[in-house]
Subunit: 351 residues, 2 copies
DNA sequence: CTGTTAGCGCCTTCAT
DNA sequence: ATGAAGGCGCTAACAG
């Protein structure tokens, strides 16, 4: 419907299309008077340069693609993404760019990528060797891997293994009988799972803690839980109904942890006395809950910003292939876990 | 860098560009053998149709624009947006569309709009008569107004006034001395504020409740608070330090309310005994807090989906200009407010 | 300082 | 079933 083109304006203003183009792109090379007239005519006609045409010509759309390996709905049910997006958004604002969320079209990530008019992609949860990601490299489309393994493409990750280890080691130091792990890894289709890499790293950290603590590692103790409040809540409710009585929960996401916490309250459990809970991410809501959630903090906003910055540089032609950022992960203790001694940890701000 | 074009493939496969195009767009009109060969060559060469060229030709990019009147960072600091995005995303998934977040470029919304390769916009928090939005109508770009006033463009809103009224009336029925309002309206630049319309409607609801209750309405009782946990928290802390001692807080957003709740805990206040708090939105985190937050529920995900659906229909050429959706807002009472009798409301799930 | 010309990569009649 | 030609709207040489 954007029918009014550059030549409409040109004709109406009594100049050539080039002049109109110049008015918008290099006004300083035109007489002020001409610029004024063209601008006025443009406004009258409601003209605006067609972004598609510009993009075709310059092969630049000014859009950063944020590729998530699941539906947008599932992704944003996890507050982690709100934080990550804030980081990407910060860079977009600075660089006058836009951001588009790209999620699988009709199950196909590759299809979504080809259709997306983006200048490059921040790829979350997928490694560079994923069958839908690898073609990007071949086609020379800039991309940055986040939370995934990558050797030839730039990447941003956090110390998943160490963070997870610390969380589990802390919990295990309290001498629990029955510790449950809430993972987001679907055991049945382990290999094809997005987030496989992060998941495995965190799992490795947990496992190491278990081994060092001499605690038994049983597959039956790891549960597959969606990364959302509801996911965690439902899982907790169900396992309880099934007769399981864990005394500690180690979760790969705060979303699941907070949901489980809610369920625990609904079940009348005291946290951390009856049940200890530790999460991963440190989303803002982790401080809001009661008791506030102990968790492994990752600098999510910075992570998003780092990825976006790398992508921008790649788009601008810089060779950033060898940049592999690893951000710190740190255990932050709040009220949902007991203190080292076994007594409830002091909940900051609580009388 | 996506140098490999349709004619490269054509040459390599020994066919004409048209044939390649047909392979991708109307394969049924080609011999299966040809299709196979072209497809194979494409894969070899790493060819993918250029989305910019396609968009230019068809004036369709398959992208829905989500226009927010603030920086992406500020927007996503409010979990409300995560929910809204989920709704928009649901429709995107169904229709094989992508979503792009468009936020002011260099302070200018109009600039951001012109640059965005989107097929239409979901405009949040701005009315159709806003100086940067109005041109869309003139240029025939489809858009849907959300949380803003609109007569000629389709819109999606909720019963802000009624919801706000109910919340305030409920609080006031408890006979408070000092009730504070946390608004997101900047008093100094009232007229230019995005979210002015929603803000004013909610304010009108509060005000009506105050008048009916015979409670004094003083401008000094309405505070301007950013829509984020931190915003609410900081505001509460500051007003306390300034010596104010409200016994009830009525907030225009859950984000601010939950932040204030956190601050109240840090200050050693008992909620709802010492301080009642009610929010607006009913974001998922509202159930997570302690006590769980009483609030005015708006169906945020549905709101996003409704807006996106309207936009899709508009893009497809349907005339939806007269569709003005108004979604219900309902007061949901949880633990952060006292029950009608003046005793603390029973916090569901708490022993 | 301004106009003319030639594509960017693709899709779609129209021929063959 | 396949090929040739034109144009979507814009910008960047190159004239003038």
């Amino acid at each position: 419907m954007a029918r009014v083109t550059i030549s409409d304006v040109a004709r109406r203003a009594g100049v050539s299309p080039t002049t109109v183009s110049f008015t918008f792109n290099r006004p300083w090379e035109l007489s002020p008077e001409t610029v004024r007239r063209v601008l006025e005519t443009s406004r009258e006609l409601g003209y605006a340069p067609n972004p598609h045409a510009k993009a075709l010509l310059s092969s630049r759309s000014g859009v950063l693609g944020l590729l998530v390996p699941e539906s947008i709905t599932d992704a944003f049910a996890n507050p982690f993404y709100s934080c990550f997006v804030q980081g990407v958004g910060r860079v977009c604002n600075e660089r006058e760019l836009s951001m588009m969320i790209v999620s699988p079209i009709d199950e196909s990530i590759g299809e979504a990528i080809t259709r997306a008019p983006a200048d490059g992609f921040v790829v979350v949860g997928l490694g560079e060797d994923h069958e839908d990601i690898a073609p990007l490299a071949r086609r020379g489309v800039p991309f940055v891997v986040v939370d995934g393994t990558s050797e030839y493409a730039p990447s941003v990750n956090v110390e998943d293994e160490r963070g997870a280890y610390e969380a589990a080691a802390f919990i295990l130091s309290h001498g629990h009988e029955d510790v449950l792990l809430m993972s987001f890894l679907k055991p049945e289709r382990y290999r094809d799972d997005p987030y496989r890499d992060v998941g495995q790293r965190r799992m490795a950290g947990y496992r190491r803690a278990f081994e060092e603590a001499g605690a038994g590692w049983e597959e039956g103790h790891v549960l597959d839980v969606p990364c959302s409040f509801e996911g965690g809540r439902r899982c907790m409710l169900e396992l309880w109904r099934a007769g399981r009585r864990p005394t500690a929960l180690i979760c790969m996401s705060d979303a699941a942890a907070l949901g489980a916490l809610l369920a625990a309250r609904e079940l009348g459990l005291r946290v951390p006395e009856d049940l200890e809970v530790v999460g991963f991410d440190d989303i803002p809501a982790a401080r809001i809950s009661h008791p506030p959630l102990s968790t492994v903090r990752q600098p999510t906003v910075e992570k998003g910003a780092a990825a976006a910055n790398l992508l921008v540089r790649a788009i601008e032609g810089e060779d950033v292939a060898q940049e592999h950022v690893v951000l710190p992960a740190t255990l932050v203790l709040r009220g949902s876990t007991r203190s080292k001694k076994g007594a409830p940890a002091k909940a900051p701000g609580l009388p």
